[in-house]
Symmetry: C2
């Protein structure tokens, strides 16, 4: 006969931690602790298989289950020396618990076993009538709500009426007499709502409670929760029936929570708090201030010693920081729960490293212990958590960090004031490439429009600068030089604000910030990670300074150097604009000749910084209109500089206007229509590579053609590039090994990967654009509908943040497989924003990519994420063997 | 021993038409005619296998080939009673000819066998020294150029010098003496360029000529030609050596071309022209006016009778109209070539139908005989081919047909004047949905921007109205109400112009046009086609009038009814704008309530017209900004109507502005953010369907959700649609069968087709958008770079015209296969512009789609193309078995 019920108590248990699928997380944890000799209130678990049987058989239970439950109730009664409904009375909790945590989704009943007779006995035994009535009324409410679906507001209305009548502000202000009155009203409500009297028989109570908990497995919110989090393959929930213990039976009782180490700092000190003569709820409710755990040593020396002993045992047993709930009932210590303790990023890093030093865990485990996404906290300044803040707007977190400064509304002002050392925050409706200088000079950027991958966010992340985008709470009035925020708050030019790029909050005034600190432990943890990962991590960097930072963060190369970002610095834009205004090839070539030495010097700088690591350089990508001024004053200024009329400038701007520039005349399409532009860039790359080679330094340039959609397109450029390379190297008299490859960013390129790989030596997935085109979502415009998609759960994640495995990911995998089938040595990487997102990094590892490339500040995150993916991937593979 | 050389002559031939792969098109044709008893100058073919051997063996010939050639030369000499280099002298032509025609790509040498001695004999035999010298100098030039790579300009310079000296305007003005001088100069040029004297020995000439022709198989232009036209699998070229005959040996000689039927009208009359005492070149050169073929009966009654007999035999033999070249040498008729005769679309249709009636071909063959693309000529008016035209600009042919009218520059004016019965042509930089009324009222539309799938072109094709787009030759000046065309021609408001939407030509003044005529034969041909095709053909139609036309052209349903096109008619736009300006759901619902009865009536009209055929209705698709006026005056007018300020209107317009509207807030994304809009449309569809059902008429609505990218998105709408359907039908008390499906237009939808097909009952590929997103090409902007792509052959075709099989087609096939695997009954169609393109229709047939849908005017084209694809597909399948 199958066994459905598993007992635990008095150091014995019919189960352990390994039986999570059968006994659920809670049940198996209680069994494990019991076996460890930890004093856990005894009880029993009705298995998840019972739940499966229940649903497979039209909500009937297996034969013999009732007898099994009865036998276990008797065993529990024996262990506790108390009986359900008897004297001394036994009270139990009935709780749900599946193999995976589904917090708050299913039902729980506490204080089961209460009735009128038990109330009297409890009052007599504890001498505490208030306690007994409170337990009774709570049970009625919980049972009515959870088991019988009585509207909980009907109970609450009665409680409120009694409180009002007796002038009590809080529940705790009510005495035994008032609670008796509440209880009587509850019994009436129950009778009226259900048409039956409240069940006095604890066995009947128990049967109904077990039904309700199993029933809650299929309630609407639990089903929805499993859908959303894609939880499948579970048998069902288990039901744990456990003796209740009480911390509120006088001064030899109490309750508390403790951590085996400090979860804020990670220090190896006992941490926690407790309350004498209290229940767990009282700690949560905050009506009394708990005492630090140290004080327990004085209050209950024996219990404290037991607790320290237990916490040490639990941490050693589980090899991780434990977060324990305990109750002392009349001098006796019970542990109600232990679980892995949540911690700050800083603590996580320290604990992982300490535990390796203590030989409690190995380096692999340490690597898995830190959530890569949390590292952001350590890499950027944050608001002082203790500071008071008046939040006047909330936008989309564009780039993490916190900053304080005075509001400016134009890039020019930001450059002027920021350059003079003033702390300014640039506030714009949206930014454009023209604003780069101002963005660089500002402490933070705040925009009213745009999403996580808007220009402002992308550039800010590249600079490691705090940025909040798509902040629809603010409305700019540039004429008045001010913006209006929530509640009509008006912020004027020069006012102080504080911006949190991690939360998206905008705060009026100056909020103190806490600086980032990268300690030795941070480096240590990454050194562990590097031992396990197989995926290489590169950085996106456009100028030598970024390259230097990338190198410092451990980047193993540049995965994306956007040549156009160099075009905005200082006076360079003039040469670019001259090139755009040029009439015919010859004029254009003259303008390009001015850019050549500038580009060459940039590349020389980057090659030197990267010290022989590969550098992927993307040829000009954005549409030309981005290089022209859009506003009349700036157009007039440009006309003046070029000694022409504003009409000429405006006509050029209009001619370059596009309906959908994202899918317009950009990328290598510019190279087809103006080959001389790419020729100039290619020449600059090779001349720089030759120059650095002649310094006896190693250089690995990888020339990348953007937006390719067919092999014919690729071949058109490859021929020219190789010819220029040959010519430049012959002139310089040195030889430089280089690769020519392409970005895969239009879906067609992925579909034609086998063809393209016949010519291309590497692929770099531009997953920003690939996501835009695969979904048909313009990232600059998706702010108007993406929030609704996430709200309605039509999309689980923002696909610009977390790579969409089903659609975009399918194209990536297809291109990798088919590309490598045509060219086994094909080097494959990713250089979209996803390169710094841990879940996307894991995908890249699974898809067999050679590297990911992300902004320098995300390199540590990617290193850790790649290591975790490698460890977990290997574990999954080993398990499958 | 292998046989490499195949003789033909005197009614015998070592080959026939079936041996095309071995003997090439020309060679096998000559053999076939010889066997038919047609008098063809004898000769022999050196097979394509020889060519293969030649290239497989480092340009050496197989053993024994020379002996085989010698033997055949002797056979030819015997047949002709003349010898190479002897007396009477034999002259031969040496020509290339592969199994597939590659016109002009490979080499030919004529008059081979000429030398000084032969010249004298020829002069003596013909009494025509001029003829002999001319033959000699032509041979030297051709041999020098083709065989020895002497720059042809060097010869031409000598010819020009002699012409100048002797005051001759044309070659034909030169006499024997001058030609002798030219010949001597040619011999000198040849010697200087090659370092050798001109080979006098005809055997040596022949060997070199054969080398040259085989060598030309791999010349650059031939290789490129095969690449471009994807010609693979050929063995090589054959070489045909054939006796020369001369039509210029006096008045008993002559030359001509003839067609077995009139290629212009298709009438079954003998058609052609001839010249007495002339060579083929003289007909081509146009120096003398040829006589109609009828006159040959009088001039050479015997020859004429022979010719009529032969043309009848050839047409009966080849079952198709033949285009023959003939030469009469001293009273003897020779047929030099016969091939299928080119014909006009009108002729093609008539000939196909006549030949079926004459039992010369079957209906299947007749169906294959007409190029579907040519049907356009028959469906629209054209310029009178005899009219003189001053072309002032040329743009992209947007929608076929020809029209004449006075220029107007605004839609309002077009509506006012056109409505009053005036013929106007609407000239715009580009059109927008606001212009619909004016486009409808105009005879034609001419735009300076946009491509084949721009708004103007798409709408015009839907209306069957002539349209030229992307006409960069013209520059509009709206202030002066005029445009400037090629050569600075200024066209003012009210001036007459003529527009040809088939060629893209814009002509100053009024060009007479010829009306379209759809005769009984046209219907007959389509009735043949309908017997073979398996692919259904539907039409895109938005209003009842279009639906009526679609039905008349044989559409088997509506594949795309764009509900938003209804929004622009008359005052409807006001209700739409009220809906857009609404603050909150309730105001929006009030505005939508005004639209509901209007939409319902539209659907009632369409359902009635379609008489029980399926009607696919797409819910609102375009971004809302398209419904608001963009120009200040119109915005002011709107503000007046809605009793608000222009500022409010402008703010709304700005709020709706998008960077990339194509990938922005449109399609079902509008339905997610404003579900009440789709609810209203759904209600209108069901109410209309119920109303028509109650008239005892059959209705099959297919509700289509645009721009879906995931099944969750689809499900969001399907639930609402089914609920509304249930409610409306319950209220109406009738039941209507309907389908709910989606457009597949973002790549992700194709990639997730298996998931989406679990919910969707049909797919309709929106290949316009799918092409845009797969390539990342904005169709409205691609005019700036697509021409360069086509010019550089980076793309073989404009992917917006001809469906890209490799990229977009792969997604389509994948979605069909995976969609049907999830739902075997999935109905699959296409409703993009490609639905009317013959090559794309063939693809749709191959991909197993259920139907294509195109603009009503293209329905006949699609019907014919689908039939041809079915016939050819079946033939290919049968061949493979």
């Amino acid at each position: 006969m199958a066994k459905y019920v598993h007992y635990f108590g008095n150091g014995q248990a019919e189960g352990d931690a390994s039986m999570k699928p059968l006994l659920g997380g809670k049940g198996s944890g209680l069994c494990e602790m019991t076996k460890l000799g930890v004093n856990v209130p005894p009880g029993f678990v009705i298995s998840t298989e019972t739940c499966k049987y229940f649903y497979d058989h039209d909500r009937r239970y297996p034969d013999g289950l009732e007898a099994e439950i009865d036998a276990n109730v008797r065993r529990l009664e024996d262990a506790m020396g108390a009986t359900l409904g008897g004297d001394p009375p036994l009270l139990v909790s009935v709780r749900s618990g599946a193999a995976l945590s589904m917090p708050g989704m299913m039902d729980t009943v506490l204080n089961l076993g209460m009735n009128r007779a038990v109330l009297d006995r409890l009052t007599k035994r504890t001498g505490n009538a208030r306690f007994a009535w409170d337990a009774y009324r709570r049970f009625i409410q919980m049972f009515g709500d959870v088991v019988m679906n009585v509207d909980r507001h009907r109970f609450e209305a009665e409680l409120d009426a009694v409180k009002k009548k007796s002038g009590a502000a809080r529940d705790t202000d009510l005495g035994a007499a008032q609670l008796e009155e509440v209880t009587n009203q509850y019994l009436r409500v129950y009778r009226e709502a259900t048409g039956q009297p409240f069940p006095e028989d604890p066995r009947v109570q128990l049967r109904h409670a077990i039904d309700a908990v199993f029933g809650s497995w299929m309630n609407e919110r639990a089903v929805k929760y499993r859908q959303i989090y894609k939880i499948t393959g579970l048998l069902g929930t288990a039901v744990t029936v456990q003796a209740m213990v009480f911390g509120n039976l006088g001064d030899s009782s109490g309750t508390g929570v403790c951590f085996t180490r400090d979860p804020a700092t990670g220090e190896n000190v006992f941490y926690g708090e407790f309350l004498l003569n209290a229940q767990g709820e009282d700690v949560v409710a905050g009506t009394r201030t708990p005492q630090p755990i140290r004080d327990l040593e004085k209050a209950m020396p024996v219990v404290y010693k037991q607790l320290v002993d237990i916490k040490n045992r639990l941490e050693r047993h589980f090899h991780d920081v434990q977060d324990c709930e305990f109750t002392v009932q009349e001098g006796k210590l019970f542990i109600l729960q232990t679980r892995t303790g949540k911690r700050t990023a800083r603590a996580a890093v320290k604990i992982a490293c300490d535990m390796v030093a203590e030989k409690m865990i190995d380096e692999k485990t340490a690597t898995l212990r830190v959530d890569p996404a949390d590292l952001d906290q350590l890499l950027h300044p944050t608001f002082d958590p203790k500071a008071k803040k008046e939040v006047i707007a909330k936008g989309i977190p564009g780039s993490p960090g916190a900053a304080v400064g005075r509001v400016v509304f134009t890039a020019d002002e930001a450059e002027a004031k920021g350059g003079a050392g003033e702390a300014v925050i640039l506030v714009r409706t949206e930014t454009s490439p023209e604003d780069i200088g101002g963005m660089h000079a500002a402490k933070a950027i705040l925009t009213a429009r745009g999403g996580k991958t808007s220009h402002a966010a992308v550039v800010a992340r590249g600079m490691g600068k705090c940025c909040v985008v798509g902040c629809s709470d603010i409305t700019l009035d540039l004429d008045k030089k001010q913006f209006t925020a929530r509640g009509g708050v008006v912020v004027k030019d020069g006012d102080w604000i504080s911006v949190d790029g991690t939360s998206g909050e905008v705060v009026l005034g100056r909020v103190p910030t806490v600086d980032a600190e990268l300690g030795a432990e941070f480096e240590k943890l990454l050194s562990f990670a590097d031992k396990f990962r197989t995926l290489r991590v590169r950085a996106n960097a456009d100028v030598p300074a970024d390259a230097r930072m990338a190198h410092r963060f451990g980047a193993e190369g540049i995965g994306l150097c956007r040549t156009e970002h160099m075009f905005f610095e200082g006076d360079r834009i003039l040469a670019v604009r001259e090139m755009i205004l040029a009439n015919g090839v010859e004029e254009r070539k003259r303008a390009l000749a001015k850019l050549l030495p500038i580009q060459r010097e940039d590349f020389v700088g980057i090659f030197r910084e990267m010290q022989g690591l590969p550098v992927t350089i993307r040829l000009l990508d954005p549409p030309l209109h981005e290089f022209l001024p859009q506003e009349p004053e700036a157009q007039a200024e440009m006309a003046r500089i070029f000694n022409t009329t504003i009409d000429v400038i405006r006509k050029k701007v209009n001619a370059l206007h596009e309906f959908n520039p994202m899918m317009g005349h950009r990328g290598c399409r510019l190279g087809v229509t103006y080959p001389e532009v790419y020729d100039m860039q290619t020449t600059a790359i090779f001349e720089a590579a030759c120059a650095v080679t002649r310094e006896k330094k190693s250089v690995i340039p990888e020339i990348m053609i953007p937006l390719v959609g067919s092999v014919a397109e690729f071949d058109f450029f490859e021929t020219r590039i190789r010819q220029i390379g040959k010519d430049v190297m012959a002139r310089a008299g040195v030889n430089v090994a280089y690769l020519v490859g392409t970005m895969i960013e239009v879906p067609r390129a992925a579909l034609l990967a086998a063809e393209i790989a016949k010519s291309a030596e590497f692929f770099s997935f531009g997953t920003n654009d690939l996501t835009q085109m695969t979904f048909g979502f313009s990232r600059d415009d998706s702010g108007t509908f993406l929030p609704a998609y996430l709200e309605h759960k039509i999309l689980a994640d923002d696909p610009f943040q977390t790579l969409d495995r089903d659609g975009v990911g399918r194209l990536v995998k297809l291109a990798v497989t088919e590309g490598r089938s045509a060219r086994p040595t094909l080097k494959v990487g990713i250089c979209g924003e996803h390169g710094g997102d841990p879940s996307s990094v894991a995908f890249c590892h699974e898809a067999g990519l050679n590297y990911v490339s992300c902004s320098p500040f995300r390199v540590p995150i990617a290193r850790l994420a790649a290591a975790q993916a490698a460890i977990q991937g290997k574990a999954a593979k080993d398990a499958a063997l």
